[in-house]
Symmetry: C2
Subunit: 382 residues, 2 copies
């Protein structure tokens, strides 16, 4: 029966694997079994991802700790990695002596449950995140070298904020601090302002008295979105349609008076992004961290030559690779102190599902919902 229902979802080719899975399932199916969201080949997440139980962890090696994730978010870049269109290597997980698979997830909050003999600075019960990109956080228990962990402050940060702290808030924070030395009263321009990064940008900028001009897509509940972003601290919010209005440049000049806009953050690309750069002043920096339109970044060369525009990219993964554990922990403390609002979220708790197949079905349902535009951040609990 189990076999049949899963075969309906993924086709005949998985038959052999299912035999192996049935075995694994039979040996570790308890309330506290380990589960992970895994895949063996890239593709559409609703087709290739499955929830699978795996063996309990042994005690950790002397330089490592065992951790137990309690929330692991599903981010757009996680989906791209499963689709095979994101330039990073997925993590692998040993499910049993005979079986290995890719495991998804780039961030999540965990608790230390067992500590290796030689580990210093980490204790059972500490709240941690993994400071190494593409760790495979869509899993319940894992063994991790202590040096790859970042201990979070024990208070001042909700578990939801902790689960979503490693990618988006640092992206926002570092983009606001690494390219232009912004002063109170300065202006920042951004698109995709409703993204997790965009919302963090609005909040971090507002904390420092930096004003933001934000662009979002038009939508039925636009007024609500504008109110929500204004509440976070957005100075102005527009849809991309406003870029067709020739008076916009004039208005922007009035608002900013003698402070030319010197920083623009882009996660969209394409024609609207090109149009937005007309609002920039001389010597501005355009920082791209995403390409939601799937269109290239296309700019008149005159912007570079005569307005001295500089175009950069930003990738938080690179930052982690280039910084020490101390620097990573310092950044986490800085983000914690900012007291960012929790993202709107929904928890998908798969830990109590009676079978991996039932859990897989619920997981796939949520990916279908996300494809259809479900907007809240989904936090997995495995």
């Amino acid at each position: 029966m189990l076999r049949q229902s899963t075969m309906r979802l993924t086709g005949l080719s998985v038959q052999l694997k299912l035999l192996v899975r049935a075995k694994a399932f039979s040996t570790s199916s308890t309330r506290y079994a380990n589960r992970a969201v895994v895949y063996t080949e890239t593709g559409n997440p609703a087709d290739v991802l499955r929830v699978q139980s795996y063996d309990p962890l042994p005690s950790p090696p002397s330089d490592s700790v065992n951790i137990r994730f309690y929330f692991s978010p599903i981010n757009p870049s996680d989906i791209n990695l499963v689709q095979g269109v994101y330039p990073a290597k997925p993590a692998q997980l040993q499910l049993s002596a005979e079986q290995q698979a890719f495991v998804g997830g780039n961030e999540g909050v965990a608790e230390v449950v067992d500590v290796g003999n030689a580990v210093q600075g980490l204790r059972k019960g500490d709240r941690v995140v993994v400071g190494k990109p593409q760790f495979g956080t869509w899993s319940s228990s894992r063994v991790v070298p202590a040096q790859d962990l970042i201990k979070l402050p024990s208070s001042g940060l909700s578990d939801v904020n902790a689960a979503t702290i490693i990618v988006n808030p640092p992206t926002a924070y570092n983009m606001l601090h690494s390219f232009v030395e912004l002063q109170e009263g300065d202006w920042v321009l951004q698109n995709g302002a409703n993204s997790a990064v965009g919302q963090a940008v609005i909040q971090i900028a507002a904390r420092k008295g930096i004003k933001t001009i934000n662009f979002v897509r038009n939508r039925p509940d636009l007024d609500n979105l504008i109110s929500a972003l204004a509440e976070l601290g957005a100075t102005h919010v527009f849809t991309y349609d406003a870029l067709g209005d020739k008076s916009l440049v004039k208005h922007v000049k009035q608002w900013t008076s003698d402070r030319p806009i010197r920083l623009m953050l882009n996660c969209v690309g394409g024609r609207d992004t090109t149009a937005m750069t007309r609002l920039l002043g001389e010597n501005a920096h355009l920082v791209s961290y995403g390409a939601m339109s799937k269109q290239p970044l296309s700019l008149p060369t005159s912007q570079f030559i005569f307005k001295n525009l500089t175009a950069h990219g930003y990738w938080q993964n690179r930052w982690y690779n280039e910084h020490t554990r101390q620097e990573r922990e310092e950044l986490m403390r800085t983000i914690t102190d900012l007291q960012l609002k929790e993202p709107e979220h929904e928890v998908l708790d798969l830990s109590n599902e009676s079978s991996d197949e039932a859990a897989t079905q619920r997981l796939r349902d949520i990916f279908v919902k996300m494809e259809q535009g479900f907007g809240k951040k989904v936090l997995l609990r495995l």
Copy 2:
């Protein structure tokens, strides 16, 4: 008769101006009259430019000197300014008490012929260039504030090199030095390699043991061009057609072995430029100083995010505006010491023409030739 022949060229609307010109001509038509290439409205250079005599200069004010240009080149950006598509303000020239006009030209070599009482550091006979963009160098004698002049070394530099020293060689030199710290054995990628800047890039790079991969347009005499650029020091020369060859990336990787290409210089834009960026390594800098294709610079956002590409513009005008007279003179000494090859050139001597109209006709003929693809640098002598 004079009036008629000129009217044939520019139409009836200029009739009134010609009456004024005829007067000016009659008062200053000697062998040593001042002449300038002027225009009163922007447009096609072969239509709107004219040669006009003007009054002899009075003695200079105490803080200024009178100079006499002997060579003033015609550069592409000069043409763009006359066309009205270059974002700079043309210089104005007082032709007589009653008449003023725009005067073209951004560089040229001159001799000091008269020195104001309070001027220090400049003497009659000194060879100078004007360190202020858009001075209007297509003129014979001019009064210039001493602080705007850059004295050139008296030896080690031909007059032709001196006439073309202020724009292109410093553009090449500064682009090679301001964005990436290049070491001997490093590689630089450039397009438009046959441009004046491109040729200077090849030579300056070769002097420092830096290797260049150069792209040029296909043309009937391609082999000659490749030989000429190789003689200047080019490591490799390709046409843009080579970008369609998938093995190029592999070849480039072999040549450069473990040194990823970190600097690309672009004066073209459009699709070929996008394709060239695939040859760049991580953390590269793309510096644009021209847009000969008239196409935008269009790049996949992934280049910025995942390969950490940075795109800049370079404009020598800005450099001059942001640097002191001492720094400008230091740069000229540096360029002089590089002993760059003289550009291929032709001198258009209009100083001995019997009339402004005859001089205008010769001038317009050369602009028509340049439109048709005449490739040598034209140096005006007025």
